[in-house]
Subunit: 288 residues, 2 copies
Amino acid sequence: MQIFNNPQELQQYVLSQKRKGQLFSLVPTMGFLHKGHISLMHQAKVYANNVIVSIFVNPTQFAPNEDLDKYPRDFEGDEKKCKDAGVDIIFYPSNESIYPADYQTFVNVEKVSQNLCGASRPHHFQGVTTVVAKLFNICLPDYAFFGEKDFQQLTVIKRMTKDLNFPIEIIPVPTFREDDGLAMSSRNKYLKGKEREDALVLYKSIKRVSELFSRGERNVSLLLSEAQKIISSTPLAYIDYIKIVDIETMNDVDFITKDSLFALAVKIGSTRLIDNCKLLLTKGEKDV
Amino acid sequence: MQIFNNPQELQQYVLSQKRKGQLFSLVPTMGFLHKGHISLMHQAKVYANNVIVSIFVNPTQFAPNEDLDKYPRDFEGDEKKCKDAGVDIIFYPSNESIYPADYQTFVNVEKVSQNLCGASRPHHFQGVTTVVAKLFNICLPDYAFFGEKDFQQLTVIKRMTKDLNFPIEIIPVPTFREDDGLAMSSRNKYLKGKEREDALVLYKSIKRVSELFSRGERNVSLLLSEAQKIISSTPLAYIDYIKIVDIETMNDVDFITKDSLFALAVKIGSTRLIDNCKLLLTKGEKDV
């Protein structure tokens, strides 16, 4: 396994390999790797012989009041996990090499980034799309892997990739969960004492909404009020948003007549967690 | 010479050639090709065996009040000129294939795009950077060629290429002029009757400013007032801007202490023309 810190050196290396016909997979991460990331790496290896994992806590996707400084980091642990997962290259750049002095170019995806996390975190997706565009150009992958836990992020990146014609296939990977259902996230590390159990309200509300949906419920306010009840039962849980949106446009819907997404962001104490589940119509319903 | 209309087909073709080690040059144009474009094509062939010329009148870089609809077009003439210049591929896409329904991603270069044409044409450079990012990803060139006539555009694109880490070398090509000094531009076609002669005020003011600069004049208001005198002598010439800026940042300067650019935009009747010249300090001056 090779480790690259310098963007230009990695780019030159990948270019030279691609001229020989080699294929590359990219798994962009902010490090502090968990089993969700590992499942992305395993997928990545299925698609291409060369797997690059980038580890970069991207400052432009954090607002000043957010957790950039305390975001958990453990490069040595990450290195070992990558090696064990069969990763070929770690890209671990400095902030200065990604955003040199006088940096001034940003990529914006206008519509699908507005709702959900985009509404709660106004500049978040501009930071995400900008750094992912840069990672795409540095690592020049044929395939790039993103977890469905950050479903809106996946949607925004798919949109950017298509709109800007990046020659890259975006592969979504299902959310990886703890045994009790909590979605894997580096931020789970913040949960202290009872908060870990309280955090299960996200998964419980997902299960409840899924179940009602599969029994035929299509009324969004009814589905959301059921989820809200579950979350309200935990005094320490504060709802940032809880929504059902069109799975393509990320726009709110009142009644589910297209494939949709139930998505929520909930603060457990001071830790903001997100989760989601797809609400896919049956073939019969779609044909109507 | 091959002609591609479909972005995906061209991208797949280039990818397959690059896997065999082939190199590509790109000359992005809006068509109605003149000798300036041809000189870009000749340069392009020096750098790579495969030259792609894109011909696309990009709607997103025109404001509603501008000349998108009447912008001159002549695909058959362009095709012949490309063939004669040894071009390998023309990329001639439809608007719909570049901006499909629900298109929503834009690239912004924030600082160097603010002054000069960016001030006169507020969304112009967002349109330029977005379409050039797309052309870069579709055509995947190793080298891309831009004329110095649009010096700010060249600066904005160099900045985008560096900031977003495109693996592409941007090659500037000197302005190509008519025998009397008028900078080649597809918009020169708009000039009617006496306007063609009036249009020489741009070149005359450049010559005057260059001459004073080379004699040691560094005071910007003095240099600009000399240029202004020349332009004011022509009743049909209306100054949009006339400026001296830092050649790197594109910011106004009062006194020339760094390499600078004299740039102007002048309307001759209803035709807006731009031109510029570099004001480069002597080595001795720089060392001070």
